[in-house]
């Protein structure tokens, strides 16, 4: 066996709750395994213990035994284990520390003291597998998130580990990048490498794995083939189930359904398609998701152009956001989405083109003034936390603008479950809690427009559900919302309007189903229709056959 955990418990220093609690596991060579579970369930700790970082790098209390390819991780230091097991960490930026991609790939090989001819051989093999040949002379910090992820993977692959662990590799990838990484993982599996992949978005990878492990409070509570595990009672473990499985579960069909073909097969088994059709169409008739009642523009953009280092980023954007709309901004990494949202609150000033924010000219107002009307919630909540308590953190905006409404702020504390945390330091919170603080801080000033940057990235199911109910509430209250996301299932669920950017151009603007029906635009934008949409299309076909 390649990896074995024998009754492993681990406590991080100065904690009394185990991160791993009497953990047992055996992994055979060549297996591919998906590790799932809510945040804080012990997944990342498991990765660290699997390559010897626990106990050699992280102090704390470890009991039990971990064997990697037969080597006891307590007796063998990390530099003896790293030839057998490699880990691609969550944050690609923190693992790329060389000047070029090529230097990054050979770093581990140089440490191993290999001959130059062997280094060349491994470099060629890893760069082919991770599809890095066109990037070899680039500096890692100039690459996109998806490219960085591939470099981090390549840097581990050159070491030819028999066991490869990846901690949330799909988090920052766009749909094309996700598909690319899936292809690479399939190639690795065919090379006989054992894969252990940690991921919240189960549907991205579930069809490619042999086994799924479900973690809960430091224990592996379920394990087995994906279909067997997902057919069981797993609702308490905070898993983000594949969208079609959720759909069929809602209709009382407790079966693991991972793709559209399986969904169609299931539909054909039923004498009447009406309940399915009605259920699938339900979100579109939901009153809270109806078209906006108001025609009052919150933001108007006309022929906006933008460039960075001489390269065009936005090219002639025309756009009006109206009050009450919930808009999803979609497109590949590097399509210009982040640049565009920076114009919505004046962080970037238009040099060519016209922008009005609630009739204010951003050229004449500072960002601090415009922030009164438009709140941005960034992907990383750590970028804004600086106060000593959660209460002060949330009230920073209202006090700054002299717009403190105690009733509204108390409502927000309640809505975001912040009441028990108010006197705690925001630095000491979990990432999910910090995200809630940043949402509450953004809403505390009662902005006219809320902009969310990748709200679901790296979020587990409980946080995602919380976000879902929050967005529903806000839409019901008529709040104008725009969010940037790669999560099309989430975008289809919440937005009543999709904007698709491709190479700085707005190539599609309309209702989600209208946009998804335009296949050529979806391909141009690097997007793929949601499973629900594909099922609707299939259902229409089946109903025609029926009649």
């Amino acid at each position: 066996m390649i990896l074995q955990f024998e009754g492993v418990s681990y406590f991080y220093p100065e904690t009394d709750r185990p991160a791993l609690d009497g953990f047992h596991l055996t992994v055979q060579p060549g297996e591919s395994i998906l590790v799932a579970g809510a945040s804080g369930s012990g997944k990342s700790t498991f990765c660290r213990a699997s390559i010897g970082l626990i106990p050699h790098f992280h102090q704390g209390r470890l009991t039990g035994k971990v064997f990697v390819n037969g080597l006891d991780t307590v007796k063998h230091p990390v530099h003896e284990l790293f030839r057998h097991a490699g880990l691609v960490f969550q944050n690609p930026d923190a693992q790329l520390f060389n000047q070029t991609v090529e230097a990054e790939l050979v770093y581990g090989l140089e440490n191993l003291g290999l001959r130059p001819s062997e280094i060349e051989k491994r470099l060629a093999w890893a760069s082919r597998l991770a599809e890095l040949d066109p990037l070899m002379n680039r500096s890692p910090h100039t690459l996109s998130g998806g490219e960085k992820q591939k470099v981090a993977l390549g840097a581990i692959l050159t070491l030819r580990p028999r066991l490869l662990l990846m901690d949330e590799p799909f988090t920052h990838l766009d749909p094309e990048g996700t598909e690319g990484l899936r292809g690479i993982l399939r190639s690795l599996k065919s090379e006989g490498i054992t894969l252990l992949i940690i991921e919240h978005r189960l549907h991205e990878i579930i069809e490619d794995v042999d086994r799924i492990l479900v973690f809960h409070q430091g224990r592996c509570v379920k394990e087995g083939p994906p279909r067997q595990v997902l057919a069981g009672e797993i609702f308490d473990y905070g898993l983000n189930l594949p969208p079609l499985q959720r759909f069929f579960n809602d209709l009382g069909i407790k079966k693991p359904i991972f793709n559209v073909q399986e969904g169609i097969k299931e539909l054909k088994k039923h004498p009447s398609l009406c309940p399915f059709h009605d259920h699938l169409m339900k979100p579109d008739t939901d009153s809270s998701k109806a078209s906006p009642a108001s025609t009052h523009p919150v933001v108007e953009i006309e022929d906006l152009w933008s460039a960075y280092d001489g390269h065009p980023v936005l090219r002639g954007i025309d756009l009006i956001l109206r009050q009450g709309e919930c808009v999803a901004l979609l497109g590949r990494n590097g399509a210009g989405k982040t640049t565009l949202i920076k114009y919505l609150n004046g962080l970037l000033k238009p040099r060519k083109g016209f922008v009005r924010i609630l009739n204010h000219d951003p050229l004449k107002k500072s960002v601090s003034e415009l922030a009164r009307y438009v709140s941005l919630v960034w992907q990383n909540p750590n970028d804004q936390i600086f106060r000593s308590t959660v209460r002060e953190e949330v009230l920073t905006g209202p006090k700054m603008f002299k717009a403190y409404d105690p009733r509204w702020c108390n409502q927000l504390f309640e809505r975001f479950d912040l009441l028990p945390l108010l006197s705690r330091s925001p630095f000491a919170l979990s990432e999910g809690q910090k995200k809630r603080v940043s949402f509450a801080a953004a809403l505390s000033i009662k902005p006219f427009l809320v902009v969310l940057d990748e709200p679901t990235a790296g979020q587990d199911e409980p946080s995602r559900s919380q976000l879902t109910s929050l967005l529903k509430q806000l839409r019901e209250e008529g709040q104008t919302i725009l969010f940037v996301t790669h999560d099309l299932e989430f975008a289809a669920e919440h937005a009543n309007r999709w904007l698709v950017l491709s190479e700085g151009k707005l190539i599609a603007d309309g209702a989600p189903d209208e946009v998804m029906a335009q296949t050529h635009l979806m391909i141009r934008g690097g997007l793929r229709p949601t499973q629900r949409f594909q099922l609707i299309q299939a259902l229409h076909g089946l109903r025609k056959e029926e009649t």
């Binding site: 530099h79 930026d93 923190a94 520390f97 060389n98 440490n111 804004q384």
Partner: protein, 227 residues
């Protein structure tokens, strides 16, 4: 990055000697001639456009240096001091434009420098752009919620809003980085480089001329300072 034919060690000595000589002499004619030679070198290495961009950053310290020396001494001392800083800045620019951090750390290792020191030096050069990007993100995030750190004197009161997150993230980042480096065998003995710097005949020539130039320069400087 322009790769040079010279070994990083001989280049380090050459540019070190050039810096010392520029610091040792303050004759306006010498400095003007040096400036001409350096500009020619920059053009020959096809670095002119990058150099012009670099000058935007160098302009402020050069001007400050010039003004301080002018006010403290006289106009000639002022412009000579400014020009000296300008030439030394150009020497450093040329060195770092033609020497990658890896080459530099490999060269330092060959000169007997401890590996952790050489690595930290090259890695920190790599992380400056990363920290600049993080700082920009934090600034944008705080400005987006109305914290007035757009510039101006009021920004000083909100320094914690900028420095707090940056410090916390830098520590976290350093921790993650150390973990990733450990997982790829940082610091184990027997490291072997893919490209070992090799001293060739022209490196010896450059080294010889550099040392000769330094000796002659110091002698002239010493003799010219005699009464």
């Amino acid at each position: 990055m322009k790769r040079s034919l010279l070994d990083p060690r001989s280049k380090l000595v050459l540019f070190g000697v050039a810096t010392l000589i520029l610091m040792a002499f303050s004759h306006p004619l010498f400095l003007l001639t040096s400036t001409g030679i350096l500009i020619l070198l920059v053009c020959l290495l096809r670095l002119f456009r990058t150099w012009v961009l670099f000058l935007k950053g160098l302009a402020f310290p050069v001007l400050t240096f010039f003004l301080i020396a002018w006010v403290a001494f006289d106009f000639e001392t002022g412009w000579v001091s400014g020009l000296r800083l300008f030439t030394i800045g150009t020497v450093f620019f040329t060195f770092f434009q033609t020497t990658s951090p890896e080459d530099l750390s490999n060269g330092l290792l060959k000169m007997g420098c401890p590996y952790p020191f050489a690595f930290v030096m090259s890695a920190s050069m790599q992380f400056i752009p990363f920290l600049i990007r993080r700082a920009q993100n934090i600034r944008d995030a705080q400005r987006s919620r109305g914290v007035p750190i757009d510039g101006g004197w009021r920004s000083i009161f909100y320094l914690p809003a900028f420095a707090g997150p940056l410090l916390v993230q830098s520590f976290k980042f350093a921790d993650e980085l150390a973990e990733a480096m450990e997982a790829r065998g940082f610091g184990i003995s027997g490291r072997r480089f893919r490209y070992e710097p090799r001293f060739r005949w022209f490196d010896w020539v450059v080294l010889g001329f550099s040392l000769l130039g330094l000796a002659v320069g110091l002698m002239i400087r010493f003799l010219s300072s005699q009464p």
